[in-house]
């Protein structure tokens, strides 16, 4: 990491180790379902992706013992988790807090890349398209999860707040201007 690095919080070691024994198949299915619900609420994100809807993105949180294959598929996204090395058209690697911080607008992708906090490989244009599409969608994963939790929304909010506090990972959207 360079002298200019952004000082991204790393996922705590113990819970990361706990992920080693987690069965990945049901989690992949749950995440795919979650992604499809988000997709239904943000169709413009896939319009923006254009030809890169067919691309296969490997997202590699370097502080977790697993990585993720994301296929946008024109609004019917599929997510597959694996502990093995995944192959795709493009790979984006960095601490989980950086990857989620990009989704939530907490960090600028180029700045994280210039500082070497993020590594990108493969199809650079696909990565740019994904970054721009997600940045425009103004996603808030915490709000999305709560909206899908029905009567358990309040419990979900508390759970997410606790997870944010324990891990230092931003699970909800960063408002660019707090006074607005």
């Amino acid at each position: 990491m360079s002298d200019h690095s952004v000082n991204l919080p790393l996922f705590p070691r113990l819970p990361a180790l706990a992920l080693k024994g987690m069965p990945l198949m049901p989690v992949s299915m749950a995440l795919s379902g979650f992604a499809r619900r988000i997709a239904a609420r943000h169709p413009a994100m896939f319009r923006r992706l254009g030809e890169y809807n067919a691309a296969r993105f490997v997202l590699d949180p370097t502080d977790l013992p697993l990585s993720m294959l994301l296929e946008p598929l024109n609004g019917r996204p599929r997510i597959h988790l694996s502990r093995r090395t995944l192959r795709g058209d493009a790979r984006i690697a960095g601490p989980l807090s950086g990857l989620l911080g990009l989704v939530h607008g907490a960090y600028d992708g180029d700045a994280l890349f210039f500082s070497r906090d993020l590594v990108i490989e493969g199809d650079t244009a696909a990565v740019l398209a994904l970054r721009n599409a997600i940045d425009d969608a103004e996603l808030d994963l915490s709000a999305e999860a709560q909206a899908m939790s029905g009567p358990f929304a309040a419990a979900m909010r508390r759970l997410i707040a606790m997870a944010e506090a324990r891990t230092g990972v931003a699970l909800s959207r960063h408002e660019e201007d707090g006074t607005w």
Binding site: S2, D108, D136, E176
Partner: protein
């Protein structure tokens, strides 16, 4: 009077972020070859432009639409439609570079304000006054090759408003005339709206060393711990004889924040921030910073300390040509 800050928006979310952060004016473009930031996943569909302009106007900001590439022979219709659609979306002005397009806009859209893009490379008062007389151009975006005294000299001889770049990526050639990128990729800024396009970029990390390639050529290589470069051709590291170095330009970005008082004195109307290809987080941070700076300047206060170096390419900044020095 407060200097106007003209802020970039590559997406509707960035436009809203810029307006919320205090942008007086936002500039953006349609998602096609008509604008010089034709990048994947970027720019505005027609409905997004209408909504963006309405949002900006509701909050007291203006929107300029950049239609600043040069129409392809036989394909002019796309550029003409862009101008008509910008007007019907309620844009406050269009930013044009091509003479034919300026003539078309002046004739068919006389009430739509016309700004001259930096792509036109108008760098002296005579040519700027010509654009004003011939096509009713009201503002010119000056090339990034002029010094502050040169800008003052231009303003002394023209009524046309001047807008200068103060922050972001630095393009050093007389603008609109650089074909370096075409040699390596077949695509250039003035025809296709892209310099060193991402579709031709490749990164490889090997034992901490990062190589940045463009069209198969290694343009830059850095060791572990060094800031990552984007393989922009003019900022590459090349070998010439015995020497290895940045032949054309160092990979640094422009930051003329400290020069704002001098630019105001030189008669500049508006300050432009580069970066339509950047995220809404970047836009919000840079706009907030520059809004504070122009407000301070108008109030006669010292310039606030900038905190923007980490956002820039090469993570180092320069005052560019505004302060010319010999190496």
């Amino acid at each position: 009077m407060v200097m106007e800050i003209v802020c970039p928006a590559g997406t509707p979310a960035s436009l809203r972020a810029a307006v919320k952060a205090g942008a007086h004016t936002v500039y953006c473009g349609f998602a096609d070859e008509t604008n010089a930031r034709n990048f994947p996943g970027l720019n505005f569909e027609r409905d997004e432009m209408r909504e963006g302009v309405a949002f900006a106007h509701d909050h007291g900001s203006k929107v300029l639409v950049a239609i600043n590439t040069f129409p392809r022979a036989g394909g002019e219709e796309m550029w003409h439609r862009a101008i008509a659609d910008a007007e019907s979306a309620g844009a406050d002005a269009v930013i044009l570079a091509d003479l034919g397009l300026l003539a078309h806009a002046a004739q068919h859209h006389p009430n739509l304000r016309r700004h001259l893009s930096v792509q036109a490379a108008a760098a002296n008062a005579d040519v700027i006054n010509f654009y004003a007389d011939a096509f009713g151009v009201r503002r010119v975006v000056l090339p990034r090759v002029l010094s502050v005294p040169e800008i003052a000299a231009i303003n002394a001889e023209t009524e046309v408003e001047t807008e200068v770049f103060v922050f972001g990526g630095l393009c050093v050639m007389a603008e609109g005339r650089c074909s370096l990128s075409s040699y390596a990729t077949g695509k250039s800024p003035n025809m296709n709206g892209v310099c060193s396009p991402a579709s031709h970029v490749d990164y490889h990390e090997d034992h901490g060393d990062l190589s940045a390639k463009l069209g198969g050529y290694t343009i830059h290589k850095v060791g572990a711990g060094q800031p990552a470069p984007y393989p922009t051709l003019c900022k590459g590291c090349f070998q010439a004889g015995e020497a290895t170095g940045h032949l054309f330009e160092d990979p640094v970005s422009l930051n003329a924040e400290a020069l704002i008082p001098q630019l105001a004195k030189a008669g500049v109307t508006a300050l432009k921030i580069e970066g339509r290809q950047r995220s809404r987080s970047y836009v919000a941070q840079v706009v907030r910073n520059f809004r504070a700076a122009v407000d301070a300047q108008a109030a006669g206060l010292p310039m606030p300390e900038g905190m923007l170096a980490s956002l820039t390419e090469g993570q180092a900044t320069t005052a560019g040509a505004y302060k010319k020095t010999w190496r």
